[in-house]
Symmetry: C2
Subunit: 410 residues, 2 copies
């Protein structure tokens, strides 16, 4: 393990943090002039806030990584140039090198597409298609470097399937879907000050802790080191953004940041070989997605915005609602709302004329439904605490529990 | 030489062309809604034209290339997967693979920065810094794959320097500067309908012809094949853009396209090992840059826009002008205008009060100064013809003349 390389990316990240903190307030005018701004609807005076600051964070991240590219190889004896001939290094680890470059290509591509989305307001089908395409270089690298598509079976299933099963092409489909899911999942658990960046910081922190634990156990050293190279500068630049994006937001992050964050996580999950553990860290996003499906796929009417409703008198957030009549829904929609109502997962108010009013199906509204109206800052903190809890659960599942279900062969 | 791979990138490019031609008119509203549009000042009614269409071309190019990534290796016997174990291919040519990925990273990065420039209107120092950073992955690949920094000397200098000289780090500085030059040079030879795309198409065509000639001579087959992989889809997508950007422009291309084109040329020049030949194809851009220096570096007053002046009565373009008094210029500025005047390279009009009026120092104004006012379509055609002439000259220098000056050792 090259601690020197990690120390260097650490120093670069500190520099990146300081630079970003300096740059963010200075670029305000540039964004407002470019009409990249929006109103913060959950404030009394609905201030104009510059939007899409993810593009700055993404740029600083890319510059940091570009400067870092030669470092891991500078301390690799296989990569040393032949001093006598001065020619190209003969034993250079091109396979490691291409992983780094392909990961950066996928991330760069996604920052670009996120920014294009912010500016041009792309359609939904593009939001699904483009991350898929951006992942292709990554999958190609996985294919030529590993092409390991076997999945370990838990103990109880081993009688049926054996210790491990080779799922072949489905493994690639899983990884492609992971990238699409990660990029969009952060984007739909959003809308109150600081939430996008807050959750990403906690996920990045969880990945860092997980990588360090695995490194200390001596498991798959190269993979977890690779993940650290990306997560350290990501964590640093996100922290700088958090300083300005937390309540009350001075800047908004835009789709650019959500896509950038999602793809960074997908990259380390796929090339670091811990995509399943990564999904455990995404538990709140998975729950939010599942809870949202009735509205996302239009089984239940979905208003243009599902943000909580702001009450200027009390300065608190209330649930935002959607209205429908039961007989307007399809049979699947009716089933969904009935199940959700039975388990008291949605608010339910029947009007005399038969219309039904429920909260919009997002995790933010669910929190407000359970705990009642709270201040915006508190709502973000609650969701971030939940994210943290899920990390602890994930680490519990990954370590004590996994040892119980999966017996590693030695 | 893998003709199959070239046939496939050819087919993908035809598909890309057809897709782009369909997409461009449909996305008009999206760009106008995003406020990405500008007025065409050289038309009677100064119509609103959507801007930054380079972003579409860039996206289609990237998607085409991402789909193409596995192809060159599918026909490479070293890259074949071990059929028995189904594991990773042992002899996979990672060094070739990383060239492709790093080239795409540099291009993707540049499209992104170009688009950011169009939207956010970056400062001049960013325009020089960012292409330098975007070239880093490319230079790193050059270092680990070739690290050949020797330059052949022409016959007359061999007595002094030997057959070839190793210029070491300066070769990398040269390649970095090449990328900065290429991205900005197309951007400053611009401003009349179709010129940015027109010149890029001719340069791309020249590179294609050069690659095919070298391939037919059996010189550096891999390098020129690599160049074809990029230039064929670039040529196809640019051709689609030309359909809408030529006089009268229905869409503008923005800095995005100029950066994208410049970086694509730099990439093939550097990794295809013909950076010096490439510069010969950039002769008009070099002349434009040299001619512009007095204004670019503010030795002579430089107005915000240096576009030709449109005369609505005659529908012709006239030179645009700048004004100064000789005693306002520094000594270097005075020297420059005197030399240019002596060789009749600028218009010169002395006012009774001592003010001097000359044309703005751009190649477009120079053409108008020499040939008098012409129609916008004709001006573009003249400059494109000049570009074509320079290609012929370049090929003459590269083949008959180079054989005279450089004796190849066998």
């Amino acid at each position: 393990m090259s601690t020197t390389a990690i120390a260097i990316i650490g120093s670069i990240s500190v520099g990146a943090y300081l630079m970003t903190v300096r740059m963010i307030p200075r670029l305000r005018e540039m964004f407002i002039k470019a009409n990249l701004c929006g109103r913060d609807l959950c404030k009394k005076d609905k201030p104009q806030v510059p939007e899409s600051y993810g593009v700055i964070i993404g740029c600083v991240f890319l510059i940091s990584m570009f400067l870092f590219i030669p470092i891991p190889f500078a301390f690799d004896k296989d990569a040393a140039t032949d001093a006598v001939t001065g020619g190209k290094p003969v034993t250079f680890p091109h396979d490691k090198f291409v992983e780094l470059i392909a990961a950066l290509l996928s991330i760069c591509c996604m920052i670009f597409l996120g920014f294009a989305d912010d500016v041009l307001d792309l359609r939904w089908r593009h939001k699904l298609l483009l991350p898929t395409i951006a992942t292709l270089p990554l999958l190609m690298v996985y294919y030529v470097n590993y092409n390991s598509t076997t999945v370990m079976m838990p103990n109880f299933a081993r009688g049926l399937f054996g210790t491990s099963v080779n799922i072949g092409i489905f493994y690639y489909i899983f990884m492609g879907s992971l990238a699409v899911f990660c990029t969009n999942a952060i984007n739909i658990l959003a809308g109150i000050n600081g939430l996008e960046v807050g959750q990403s910081i906690i996920i990045a922190g969880s990945v860092l802790v997980f990588n360090l634990m695995e490194l200390s156990l001596g498991h798959q050293v190269e993979s977890h080191q690779f993940s650290l190279y990306f997560m350290i500068p990501f964590f640093a630049t996100s922290l700088a953004l958090w300083k300005f994006n937390r309540y009350p937001s001075q800047v908004f992050v835009g789709d650019t940041y959500c896509y950038f964050a999602g793809m960074s996580f997908a990259v380390v999950g796929i090339l670091g070989h811990f995509s399943k553990t990564l999904l455990l860290f995404f538990l709140p996003q998975i729950l939010n997605f599942l809870y949202s499906t009735p509205q996302l796929f239009h089984f239940v009417p979905c208003p243009r915005h599902r943000l909580p409703k702001y009450d200027a008198k009390t300065d608190l957030l209330h649930i935002s609602t959607t209205e429908f009549r039961l007989n307007e829904l399809g049979s699947l929609g009716r089933l969904m709302v009935k199940v959700l109502r039975t388990f008291r997962l949605i608010s339910w108010q029947e009007q005399p004329d038969g219309r039904i009013i429920t909260n919009n199906f997002t995790l933010i509204n669910f929190v407000l439904f359970i705990f009642g109206p709270v201040h915006e800052r508190i709502a973000t903190q609650m969701l971030m605490s939940f994210q943290l809890l899920c990390t602890l659960l994930a680490l519990f599942i990954r370590y004590p529990l996994a040892n119980y279900f999966y017996t590693l062969e030695t």
